[in-house]
Amino acid sequence: MSSTRRRPATLRRVILTVAAALILFIWAFPVLWAVVVSLKSESEVLAYPPSVIFEPTLRNFRDALTGNLSIASSLMTSIILATATTVLTIILAVPAAYAFARLRLPARQGLGFYTLVTQMIPPVGLVIPYYLILNRVGLLDTYTGMITVYLTFSLPFAIWLMVSYLEDIPREMEEAAYLDKASRLQALWHVILPQIRGGIGVTTVFVFLNAWNEFLFAVQLGGNRIRPVTVAMHNFVSIEQTLWAKLAAAALVAMLPVIVIGILAQRQIVKGLTVGAVKGGGRR
């Protein structure tokens, strides 16, 4: 390549990097601001102009985790809820999506559409029916009830997402496995699953994130036993005042599990992109 062609390429890279940094900053700013606020005292938070030099304190984190408004037990509740929802969703969604993608099901189109329709109902319209049903079966304010409710919106979404990944896997790969006398389940496990690990990673992140951030159902269908962080954090927004510094500290602590899941899933997503048997293959 000649040097005349390289210069525009370098310039392009610089522009792209700057643009990416700018866009990233827009998204990162609120988080960075929360970090700064969480290290300030409540009175410094309101100071104008905002103080840049201040004595950082970890008191807010201590108060958020052990104070009289502690979110510690709620954090555990959220972890149990989101993890159980995610694991169950993936276990159920992968075979269901496989069936939609591969099997000659009667009314396949209709069923697929029906799965999606459930996503079109605004969640607020479901609060009352869910409340009545859970009340009837005695599952209000229980993990079982809450996880079941979360599955009703995570499953359709996960199935719909996984179908698109599965449809991209060429049938020939499975057929090769059948020639080697693999059963359908063996083929799914040994041949298909490694190919869609990226898709599973993406789905896991979305499902976990949705369950983690859920507020509406949690506040109405939960209670003293099931009180995830999204609800518990409202204790810092009391009727008299908003405790911004403690709220920021609590929010940052609540972000950690999501970040961990994101990093873990990202590895699978990258592997899924690079390990594939047929790169760039599929039906697109």
Binding site: S70, A72, S73, V127, N235, S238, E240
Partner: protein, 462 residues
């Protein structure tokens, strides 16, 4: 709040592990609170009559309920009732209570209730008349509880046709709060009329030096712009009813909304239409507002030197008079009704709790008698408002706070501050939306209210 009382979470050991971890964290708090509890209470009744009953009480995250939770171990000891408070954000507590009451789940034996919801609850038979409890000597020691000592207007707000349905626990009056130093420097006195108020604000307003004239709640919704607008509307001579018809677009309404909009547009910081009460109090505490009209409760924050830059520079006055010659304060309090669909045993337990929480002893113990830093400023009894201890607490925040608030509660309260109809929840939303659309300039006040009237008519027909 939930973590203090860790409930058995589930069957699985994993979950038990989580619960015991939480219990460990919470243990020191529980122990110290228990140790402090001196479980005595007056009242010549059998406090143990509902012993062993479990009830849950819905409340909101607020200092005044946290204080109640701190002394709750005393009630458990006195009554043997296992009561837990469930803190639910103020934006959701009403829906949650309605869900519980309408589907007869009986989750909350009682919950902190907005006075405006009594017509709806009573019309549907969701809550019990308290005469069933107040008039039974085995349940209530009338001489000791002294129902008539509860502030009259608050009692009235929790009653329908003279029948009590709720016992007020905490409440407030809306008052003018102003910077006495700034007013003095500019030779201003607190506003007597709404015109004065706008004129004062205009004189104080100096955005270049980060001082704005005044601010009122601008955010849309119940307890937000609908906490302010009804007072202005009535002060302008507005009437909610024309016969049986609810009217929101009369000429007084348009004039009231016009006053509200032009005050905020000309003398409030930008973005005030999204401000909530804590935002206003925060701004005032940082010295950037000349005045605001809001709950007397917010004054507590202004006396806290760790958060406030205006300690000792605060004055108080009643709501200014409107063109109709009236001062109208909000009527705001949280009261406890009894859920009609819980068992008799739970009703008795709930009544014991309500009676205990509303008693003079507990009101004092959660206010000036409280050991923690935050002391309640909205107790429910005339005798307490007149006591030297309580006056000392309020006037310590700023001279004249007790008198101003008491006068407002007695003189400026209108029990029909908002139209007490079962449809209010929906009507309030419609008016709130109209007020905000005028505040943000989407529509003129008159046009916004005309549009609202159409929706109001539709709702009332249903």
């Amino acid at each position: 709040m939930s973590k203090v009382h860790v409930n058995p979470i589930g069957r699985r050991t994993v979950l038990k592990g989580a619960a015991s971890a939480a219990a460990l964290l919470a243990a020191p708090a529980v122990l110290t609170r228990r140790a402090r509890a001196e479980a005595t209470i007056g009242g010549d009744i059998d406090w143990k009559q509902a012993s062993g009953t479990r009830i849950t009480v819905g409340v909101i995250p607020a200092g005044y309920f946290q204080n109640l939770e701190a002394v709750l171990p005393q009630f458990r000891e006195i009554s043997g009732v296992d009561v837990t408070l469930e803190a639910t954000p103020p934006g959701q507590i009403r829906q949650k209570a309605i869900l519980d009451l309408s589907s007869k789940t009986g989750k909350w034996a009682t919950s902190a209730t907005d006075p405006m919801y009594y017509p709806l609850y009573v019309a549907n038979g969701w809550i019990d008349p308290l005469t069933d409890f107040l008039d039974k000597p085995e349940l209530t020691d009338k001489a000791w509880f002294d129902y008539d000592d509860l502030l009259e207007n608050w009692r009235g707000a929790a009653s329908i046709d003279g029948v009590p349905y709720g016992i007020p626990y905490e409440g407030e009056a809306t008052i003018q709060i102003y910077r006495s130093d700034v007013y003095e420097k500019l030779g201003l006195s607190p506003a007597e009329t709404l015109d004065d108020y706008a004129a004062n604000a205009a004189k104080v307003n100096d955005p270049a030096n980060r001082l704005w004239g005044a601010a009122l709640r601008g955010f849309k919704g119940a307890g937000q712009n609908m906490y302010i607008y009804p007072s202005i509307f009535l002060a302008f001579g507005g009437k909610w009813f024309d016969g049986d018809k609810v009217v929101v677009n009369g000429p007084e309404a348009a004039a009231a909304l016009d006053w509200y909009v032009s005050l905020l547009k000309s003398t409030s910081p930008e973005g005030v239409e999204n401000w909530n009460w804590p935002d206003i109090a925060d701004a005032f505490s940082q010295g950037t507002l000349g005045s605001y009209i809001d709950t007397h409760n917010s004054a507590a924050l202004l006396a806290d030197p760790s958060k406030s830059k205006v300690v000792g520079k605060v004055g108080f006055a009643r709501w200014p008079k409107g063109p109709a010659g009236r001062r109208v304060t909000s009527i705001w309090n949280w009261s406890f009704p009894i859920n009609a669909s819980v068992s008799d045993k739970e009703k008795a337990a709930a009544w014991l709790f309500i009676q205990w929480a509303g008693s003079k002893e507990v009101q004092a113990a959660t206010s000036y008698g409280f050991e923690g830093g935050y002391k309640r400023l909205g107790v429910n009894r005339t005798s307490l408002w007149e006591s030297a201890e309580y006056k000392g607490l309020l006037d310590g925040i700023g001279a004249g706070l007790t008198q101003t608030t008491m006068d407002s509660i007695k003189e400026d309260t209108d029990v029909d501050w908002r139209p007490r109809v079962p449809q209010w929840a929906a009507l309030g939303e419609v008016v709130a939306t109209a007020v905000q659309s005028a505040l943000v300039g989407q529509a003129t006040p008159a046009a916004a209210l005309d549009a609202a009237q159409g929706q109001v008519d539709g709702i009332m027909k249903q």
